[in-house]
């Protein structure tokens, strides 16, 4: 089955090192809340506030590596025979970032997170296309936050260590104007590549519509 998704709004962030998010204090003014957010959660807050036409609703989010900083903190604590931080543990699950979005914006709708290696953002689009058949406007997100100490030991090909993409989409019967392919930008994580391509191309088109093959 083929589903055409209209891209109503898009945004992306790319950082070779830790992304600067200068608006985060303004977007999450309560310091105690802000301190609990993971970097991925902050990226998702920034992206949500950069897109239009999404007033709360279903969210699908993808990440190949998830909350890598808290995962690394946990591994190091286990190695050093130290007690684990409860905050690190609760913030280590893959749905952490979007769960904070639901808490911050009181969104009680469906939120799903998926993790499919290099196919992650392609599968976010596929899942988004399936859900969009219900007639809803959806927020699709993907992120990677790899800027942790010693990541070079295992990372050999990703230059943009922190990245995130947001697309606001709905299903349409209209013809596709945009092909679904990987971004041509070298050094981005494969896991965000298809969504990044859509986010990069959509603003150049009067009407951005991408065909998703389920």
């Amino acid at each position: 089955m083929k589903v055409n998704l209209e891209i109503l709004s898009s945004a992306y962030l790319l950082g070779e090192k830790s992304l600067e998010l200068p608006r985060i204090k303004e977007l999450v003014p309560q310091m105690m809340v802000r301190r609990r957010l993971t970097k991925a959660a902050k990226i998702c807050v920034e992206l949500l506030n950069s897109v239009e036409h999404f007033e709360g609703g279903r969210i699908l989010c993808g990440s190949a590596f998830g909350e890598l900083e808290t995962t690394a903190n946990i591994l190091n604590a286990i190695k050093d025979e130290q007690p684990l931080s409860p905050t690190d543990f609760q913030n280590s699950v893959y749905n952490t970032a979007v769960s904070y979005l639901s808490i911050l914006y009181q969104n009680h709708n469906e939120i799903l997170t998926l993790s499919c290696g290099d196919k992650t953002s392609l599968n976010v689009l596929k899942a988004g296309a399936l859900k969009a058949l219900d007639g809803d406007v959806l927020l699709l997100l993907c992120f990677e936050t790899l800027d942790i100490p010693n990541i070079e030991q295992v990372n050999r090909c990703i230059d943009y260590l922190e990245s995130g993409v947001a697309l606001v989409v709905r299903a349409t019967e209209k013809k596709a104007t945009l092909s679904l392919q990987k971004s041509e930008l070298v050094g981005v994580a494969n896991s965000i590549s298809e969504m990044l391509h859509v986010a990069q191309q959509a603003p150049k088109l009067a009407r951005a519509i991408v065909e998703v093959n389920l």
């Binding site: 946990i74 591994l75 190695k79 684990l84 609760q90 749905n95 904070y100 709708n109 389920l214």
Partner: protein
């Protein structure tokens, strides 16, 4: 949009309480817990866990479980089948063992670390058409089932294989210990004397199809919601769980008073029990039998939704209400808890899965029309 029917036609599971779904259901009915105490995971502390007794690797066990499901089915292979995986920690156990041996990340294989490590392993063994992996903590495989339901209901696929999988890892064991919620004995969901949960490992595999086969049970509806309350605490009034259950019933066009059995999330923590019982009471009163089966299986985390879906399917097939083992003095006096196994005609069963981040999913199962 017209909706296709969705049937669960084949399934198999492995957990601490049974090396097959049949032995698991027997253990549940006999109230024989698979939970045992261990002292090697946390220094100077005994904790109770659900560990699978296995003579070969968990990956080999996963392959074998999928093979058994294929043998039960009317399929010759999985070539036209979508694989949907739900897992909370994926290949974390492998990552831990490499990192604790080497003290660096160099030898960690990202393909075997991530959540989709399970899909990677199964794709090498079976020629599946496509795969997708969900990770939403303890609702992971319930959400995988929900996605599979939508894929078939909307006519995209005819066959979807759902795998719920999580292994014991130091991350989860010590993480839940850091939250202060681990019990030193088999858990007592909904009992005033409860003292926490049991982390466990489990594999649950279900084949969903658009046509019934043998004694296939129908998956009638799915409901999703978010608490929007706290990362690790459910909303005290159970509003999120209530919303998910209401949506599952609405999706299936089923009235609450017709539901015969609810397999509760029922972890045995104070916060979960209070929140979930409030939600169930608000929607069902004392109509439906309620039990948690986690005192037998432990909490298999990302696999729990799929494992408990199998328990609901078997309960419907056998027309048996599974009991809530270790429940002697319920905190909630209104709900109709199943203390002992009961043989009783019923048409619908509901399964709840509730997770970190306030992620809630309810699944409604029914006898075929």
């Amino acid at each position: 949009m017209p909706k296709n029917s969705v049937f669960i036609n084949a399934f198999e599971s492995v957990c601490c309480a049974g090396e097959s779904s049949e032995t698991l259901f027997e253990a549940i009915c006999a109230q024989q817990s698979g939970i045992k105490t261990f002292s090697e995971f946390i220094q100077d502390k005994q904790i109770a866990l659900g560990k699978i007794e296995k003579s070969f690797s968990i990956e080999a066990l996963l392959e074998l479980t999928c093979k058994k499901v294929l043998e039960q089915s009317n399929l010759e292979n999985f070539e036209s089948t979508l694989l949907v995986v739900g897992s909370s920690v994926g290949g974390m156990q492998t990552t831990e063992s490499i990192f604790l041996r080497d003290h660096h990340y160099k030898n960690i294989d990202p393909k075997l670390h991530t959540i989709d490590a399970i899909a990677h392993i199964l794709s090498q063994k079976f020629s599946l058409k496509d795969d997708i992996s969900f990770s939403t903590a303890c609702t992971s495989s319930a959400n995988a089932l929900g996605y599979a339901y939508e894929m078939i209901a909307k006519g995209v696929y005819e066959n979807v294989l759902v795998v719920g999988f999580d292994t014991l890892s130091l991350t989860t064991i010590r993480g839940f210990d850091a939250l202060g919620v681990l019990s030193s004995r088999a858990c007592q969901p909904f009992d005033v004397n409860r003292d926490g949960m049991n982390v466990a490992e489990g594999i649950a595999v279900l084949l969903l199809q658009n046509k019934p086969y043998k004694e296939g049970i129908e998956l009638l509806g799915v409901g999703y919601s978010s608490d929007a309350h706290h990362m690790a605490q459910p909303s005290p009034d159970g509003a999120g769980a209530l919303y998910a259950m209401q949506k599952a019933l609405k999706c299936a066009n089923v009235e609450p008073h017709t539901v015969g059995y609810i397999n509760a999330h029922g972890t045995g923590t104070t916060a979960n029990d209070a929140s979930e019982t409030s939600a169930i009471e608000a929607l069902f009163g004392s109509h439906a039998y309620v039990s948690s089966t986690k005192s037998i299986t432990g909490h298999t985390l990302g696999a729990a939704g799929a494992l408990e879906a199998i328990i609901c399917v078997m309960a419907l097939q056998k027309q048996i209400i599974p009991p809530n083992t270790n429940l002697f003095e319920p905190e909630n006096k209104t709900l109709n808890f199943a203390y002992k196994v009961k043989t009783q005609p019923f048409r619908y069963a509901l399964s709840n899965s509730l997770a970190f981040g306030g992620n809630n999913t309810s699944l409604l199962f029914g006898l075929p029309q």
